[in-house]
């Protein structure tokens, strides 16, 4: 594996940054690869960042920003409009399928959709939609190992919510496996 | 929700008689609900629709009760709502 560039977009409150963080942490701490995560800040720093960028590679990562992501995880239409043009034409895009209508993509792009918000709501906490998405990402992309992701989630979410989050992860993961097998 | 103490704590004046016409600039609205909550005559409610920013703007439900007190206009952080006085019987 050379270098994989991942971009995650959505609106504030969807946990975009945490998703990026978990992927980066899983790859770098638990999978023994290298992973660099950066994020876009609004004016000064009011937590208005709504995109996260992760680069995963076996070798050292030098250039810190994502130039042409091979993988995108998109959770809002606005983010789709803003970011999808940057996607590698041979890349893949993972979308929250009830919030994003993936129109206008080159035909070479692989699109995987998941109703992550609904799944999260079914689990009783809409807030875990990003973890559902992370599970989905793990299954679909194979960039990080499932085990590493589970560990990254366990060590990153607030104490007491590990169970719920791992459940959300599994839901997303299973949904992803299904999608992959379907293709 | 607690009992509203509109008159007292934030001291806006007694509604007067004029009748107000309400203009809502929906695209500016960030759905804070201030105008809805503090309209003294409950003229407004949260609409179901989304604007392009993804917020629910207010919707006029009891237009006839608006007294053009201007509170909604004054409290709107987005300059997204205002009213003006309608001469009796007038419809804009």
């Amino acid at each position: 594996m050379a270098k994989t560039e991942i971009k995650i977009g959505g609106f504030g409150g969807q946990g975009v940054i945490l998703t990026g963080y978990i992927i980066g942490k899983a790859a770098s701490i638990f999978d023994g690869k290298n992973a660099t995560m950066t994020q876009a800040f609004g004016p000064e720093a009011r937590g208005s960042a709504c995109s996260a960028q992760v680069i995963v590679a076996a070798d050292a990562i030098l250039y810190p920003y994502v130039k042409r992501p091979q993988i995108m995880v998109i959770m809002s239409q606005e983010a789709f409009t803003k970011f999808s043009p940057q996607l590698d034409p041979n890349g893949m895009i993972l979308i929250e399928e009830e919030l994003v209508d993936p129109k206008g993509l080159p035909p070479t792009v692989k699109v995987f959709g998941i109703p992550a918000t609904r799944i999260a709501e079914e689990l009783g906490r809409k807030i875990v939609l990003n973890i559902v998405m992370a599970g989905f990402f793990t299954a679909v992309t194979g960039i990080v190992s499932k085990d590493a992701m589970r560990k990254a989630i366990e060590s990153s979410v607030p104490k007491g919510t590990e169970g719920l989050n791992l459940l959300a992860f599994e839901k997303g993961y299973e949904y992803g496996l299904g999608k992959v097998q379907a293709q | 929700m607690p009992v509203r103490q509109r008159e007292k704590p934030f001291g806006f004046p007694k509604p007067e008689t004029p009748h107000g016409e309400i203009v809502i600039l929906e695209e500016r609205c960030k759905g804070c609900g201030f105008c809805i909550e503090y309209c003294p005559h409950d003229v407004l409610v949260l609409s179901k629709k989304f604007n392009a920013k993804g917020y629910h703007p207010p919707e006029v439900v009891k237009a006839e009760l608006c007294v053009d007190c201007g509170f909604c206009r004054m409290i709107c952080p987005e300059f997204a709502i205002y009213t003006y006085e309608l001469k009796t019987g007038e419809k804009p």
């Binding site: 963080y21 992973a35 660099t36 995560m37 950066t38 000064e44 250039y63 810190p64 | -």
Partner: protein, 389 residues
């Protein structure tokens, strides 16, 4: 001396440069931070604020402004703590008077500047590298400091320890010149066990009160220190002062004191010097760079190599004092230089000066806001290469 395990968060962490800097400080024994929030440095103090109550003897205070922050730490140092303050451009500008105070009173302490785009309020959330000359020259009067520049979260940890150690070693304020990109980037940071972290203890005097003179230089030009409350009952002043620490306002004492302050760093340049070279020996073009730009430069160098140019890199880890002799040496060997930095020429001038006309020097600079475009550096490498022929 080994690090105090209480402050060392041994393990692998996925954190950003700001957080890593905080951990580096804790590991190196820093137990006092006086801060004032400013993007993109705030996370350093936020982490310290959260960690302090759990680390015995550590205290964080958010002061009312940067003037206060940059002198509160000096009070803490003279009371016995290792201390730092953290800021970004606008706040750094406000700290200039107190950098001078720390220089004059030889107060070991660390100033972290997470550089953003400037001048003035500029680009608060975007990276810059344009405070490098300020770090060296921003206070009035003549002086020398030490400045380091990390290029990854891991180095934010490692070099913060070095910053504290150098500061104690030379009794000089050390400037830790990060940038927004390094500060906000998350990567794996490995924190070793405490007993694998080497710490320079404060150079307290062993002499009893009465015999000890607080500004009498030792053999390496550096006086030993005391702290308030130890019974020395001594005086410290920002005025020109004699060995006793007493004000002595005349040109002779000035010459003695300030020349030493300058020379204790200048003459130690060979010891403080720290840079990384890659492929310099047989290179035609050497890219000099530091901080985040050094990572981008590597990609440019690889690209240029693919185009058949022999390019090497000299990455400054310690930026001040500047390794002038090494640059000159390389210049004498006929190499051309590209200075890659996120500004319109700062360390570039030092390289220009150091080559003494023996080599072309080309600036690959821009105003900040993002890292370099790799092609831009490549073009400059080509330009420098053309100069050679």
């Amino acid at each position: 001396m080994k690090a105090d395990p209480k402050g060392v968060l041994t393990g692998s962490h996925y954190i950003d440069g700001d957080h890593a800097c905080c951990e580096g400080a804790l590991a190196s024994g820093c137990r006092f931070v006086g801060g004032y929030p400013i993007t993109p440095s705030t996370e350093v103090v936020e982490r310290f604020a959260r960690r302090a109550p759990m680390v015995e003897g550590a205290h964080f205070i958010q002061m009312e402004d940067e003037l206060a922050a940059s002198i509160a730490i000096q009070g803490a140092v003279w009371a016995g703590k290792k201390a730092m303050t953290v800021t970004s451009g606008p706040g750094f500008s406000l700290m200039m008077e107190h950098i001078g105070l720390a220089v004059m009173t030889e107060t070991p302490c660390v100033f972290v500047d997470v550089q953003r785009g400037g001048p003035s309020t500029g680009l608060p959330t975007l990276p810059g590298q344009a405070d490098m000359m300020q770090a060296r020259w921003g206070s009035h009067g003549d002086y020398e400091i030490i400045a380091l520049s990390p290029n990854s979260p891991q180095e934010c940890f490692d070099l913060t320890i070095d910053a504290f150690n150098l500061s104690e070693q030379y009794r000089v304020p050390v400037m830790f010149m990060m940038d927004e990109c390094v500060g906000h980037m998350m990567e794996r940071v490995v924190i070793p066990p405490a007993d694998r972290i080497e710490i320079t203890p404060r150079r307290y005097t062993a002499l009893p009160p009465g015999e000890y003179l607080p500004f009498k230089p030792g053999p390496d030009m550096i006086p030993e220190m005391f702290k308030a409350g130890d019974g020395y009952r001594l005086h410290i002043t920002g005025l020109t002062h004699d060995f006793k620490g007493y004000p002595a306002m005349n040109p002779e004492v000035q010459e003695q004191l300030v020349r030493r302050l300058v020379d204790k760093i200048r003459l130690s340049e060979p010891k403080i010097r720290r840079y990384e070279e890659d492929g310099v020996e047989d290179a035609d073009v050497v890219v000099v760079t530091y901080g985040i730009t050094s990572r981008v430069a590597v990609e440019a160098i690889e690209a240029a190599r693919k185009r058949g140019i022999k390019v090497g890199m000299l990455r400054l880890v310690v930026v001040w004092p500047f390794p002038e002799p090494r640059i000159f040496e390389l210049a004498c060997r006929g190499k051309a230089f590209v200075m890659a930095e996120m500004n319109y020429g700062q360390i570039f001038y030092e390289v220009e000066r150091s080559v003494r006309g023996r080599a072309p020097v080309v600036l690959a600079g821009h105003g900040g806001g993002t890292v370099h475009n790799i092609d831009d550096i490549v073009k400059k490498i080509e330009e420098a290469h053309r100069c050679l022929s």
